[in-house]
């Protein structure tokens, strides 16, 4: 059976450059994960237990603002004038 994993497309969407060896390795891992999902799908669940369909209503927050709590310097070394600095994304 041909692999259902299009590893090149996944790598492209994840903006990752993978070596041939990594592609083989990760494709195998994805296939193993999907195999588990197929097993889970075989379990017959009652209609009322579909995931995300819990009976309790949503948990809401009231619209109350609190000052921001995470100064960028506290967890990123790539900060300049309060901005996160990243590789340039436009030409």
């Amino acid at each position: 059976m041909p692999s259902p994993i299009d590893i090149d497309k996944i790598a492209l969407l994840a903006a990752l450059e993978l070596s041939a060896e990594e592609k083989r390795q990760f494709a195998g891992q994805f296939e193993a994960i999907l195999a588990y999902f197929r097993k889970i799908e075989e379990v017959q669940l009652p209609e009322t237990l579909r995931p995300g369909e819990e009976e309790e209503g949503p948990l809401f927050r009231d619209d109350v603002a609190r000052p921001g709590s995470t100064p960028p310097e506290s967890f990123s070394p790539h900060v300049e004038d309060g901005h996160f600095k990243v590789p340039r994304v436009i030409e």
Binding site: L13, D63, P87
Partner: protein, 476 residues
């Protein structure tokens, strides 16, 4: 070949909440970069989003005002893409179960009313802001204050047939958002912005052509101009036998052109899936009904009332209600006793022209509706002529001072009319032949005596310059 444009708009409107959609960070504008951030909106591991109740209620309000069906079981979904303005690498949005669906609004272009379908209105979080003009030319700079700010995306059916209709539709949506207090609608801050989809097809055909999307249009004029440009560009391509490239374009307001957006943003495969960190958004019908009951008077209803109660023309009513602040200013001016037609005229002509010149809005005015009502009452009582009222209005607009004061100070009462003053001058001169004699004998200081007499007779209302001039002529 004759082509027909097919246009659809996606409008993003920022919701008027204090805090973000899924965390308590403030939505306040103009803070230091990254000041309004926390582990949730920074996408740090181990955090969970919690929905802002107010944001949901505001989106429902807009949905009801646009005749949408409100879903009692809508769902959030992840839209996955990599870009530095999106710290989680996915945006929490809605996909196949949006909060509001299948509504409509009515627009009018050249007096022709048309109903434009709303496909959906859904909730989503905004992304951060990228700055590319920093110290390091090889870097981009990220400010995540806006990341997680609540938005509604309003998607129209592709039923708009001209740039003018698209502009009218966006104006209508802006009016609704501001009337409903759903958002502040401040276009210059990007509170309301549109992405315009457009394709051309041979007139009469029901096949859709390849479309382009012009993004981030933050003014009514830009929407109209960008679409007009795209129509011409696509027509030229089609006539030359070149295919239209399906792409995202940006509007260059200076060059008045659109251009292809080249960025390192990758192919659009958003791989939507239900957001596992949030339960289905289950709503009680009672909540929807409470929100419906609390809807304020909307622009269309206001326009009907202005015509019915105040006898305004459909055109004047439409101009007044297009902007909420203007409509309220008019209502209040009439509330202070002004004649409605005169008030409508002053507001839609003189006031609109000055605001337009100064790029100001009603909120910036130095005077309130009671002042305009006072001025209109003075015209009604014949205390000032319509021509003089324009001068009074200039001063009112510039200083905000009471019209009666302006009239006194500028000597603008009807006694500025030469004819009215002339009679008075003749009378005073006739009553004081001795002083006239003195003046003619060379004692020109007597002029002050006559001025004093006339000022006394008019309660200081005579225009001094005009009076001096008249006296000199009569005494010569």
């Amino acid at each position: 070949m004759e082509f027909e444009p097919v246009i659809g708009l996606e409008i993003h409107a920022q919701l008027a909440t204090r805090s973000k959609l899924f965390c308590a960070c403030p939505t306040e504008f103009g803070q230091a970069p990254n000041a309004n951030t926390c582990p949730v909106c920074l996408g740090l591991p181990g955090v969970l989003p919690v929905v802002n109740r107010r944001a949901v209620e505001l989106a429902i309000r807009l949905g009801l005002a646009t005749h949408c069906t409100i879903r009692l079981d809508s769902q959030f979904a992840r839209k996955n893409y990599f870009y530095p303005d999106l710290p989680k690498a996915y945006q929490i949005s809605q996909y196949d179960r949006p909060l509001c669906e299948r509504g409509w609004v009515e627009i009018a272009v050249a007096g022709e009313p048309r109903r434009i379908g709303i496909t959906r209105i859904h909730l989503e979080e905004d992304a951060g802001k990228l700055v590319h003009e920093g110290r390091d030319p090889t870097a981009s700079y990220v400010d995540l204050n806006r990341a997680g700010v609540p938005l509604v995306e309003i998607v129209s059916e592709p039923e708009l047939r001209s740039p003018e209709e698209a502009k009218a539709y966006m104006e209508k949506m802006h009016a609704l958002v501001t009337y409903l207090d759903v958002g502040r609608g401040d276009m210059e801050k990007g509170n309301l912005r549109a992405d315009a989809n457009i394709s051309l097809r041979p007139r009469g055909s029901d096949r859709l052509g390849t479309r382009t999307e012009t993004k981030n249009l933050n003014s009514f004029r830009f929407v109209q101009q960008a679409l007009a440009y795209e129509i011409e560009r696509q027509r030229a391509e089609l006539l030359a036998g070149r295919p239209i490239v399906q792409e995202t374009r940006l509007w260059d307001a200076l060059g008045k052109t659109t251009y292809s957006m080249r960025s390192k943003e990758e192919a659009h495969d958003y791989r939507y899936f239900p957001e596992p960190d949030l339960a289905v958004l289950r709503l009680e019908p009672a909540l929807i009904e409470r929100i419906r009951a609390e809807l304020p008077e909307l622009p269309d209803a206001k326009a009907v009332r202005f015509q019915r109660d105040y006898g305004l023309s459909a055109y004047d009513a439409a101009v007044l209600v297009a902007d909420r602040a203007t409509a309220e200013f008019f209502d209040a001016t009439v509330g202070h006793g002004a004649d409605p037609k005169r008030a409508a005229n002053w507001i839609t002509v003189e006031l609109a022209a000055r605001c337009n010149e100064d790029r100001a809005s009603i909120a910036d005015l130095r005077f309130g509706p009671e002042r305009l009502a006072e001025m209109i009452a003075m015209i009604g009582r014949g205390e000032i002529s319509s021509r003089q009222a324009k001068t009074v209005f200039d001063h009112l607009y510039a200083t905000g001072r009471a019209p009666a004061e302006i009239v006194r100070e500028q000597g603008l009462s009807q006694l500025s009319d030469a004819a009215a003053l002339e009679g008075l001058v003749a009378k005073v001169l006739a009553e004081h032949p001795g002083q006239v004699e003195q003046y003619r004998a060379g004692k020109t200081k007597v002029l002050g005596f006559f001025v004093g007499q006339i000022m006394k007779a008019t309660g200081g209302q005579a225009n001094p310059a005009l009076l001096n001039d008249l006296l000199r002529r009569k005494l010569a």
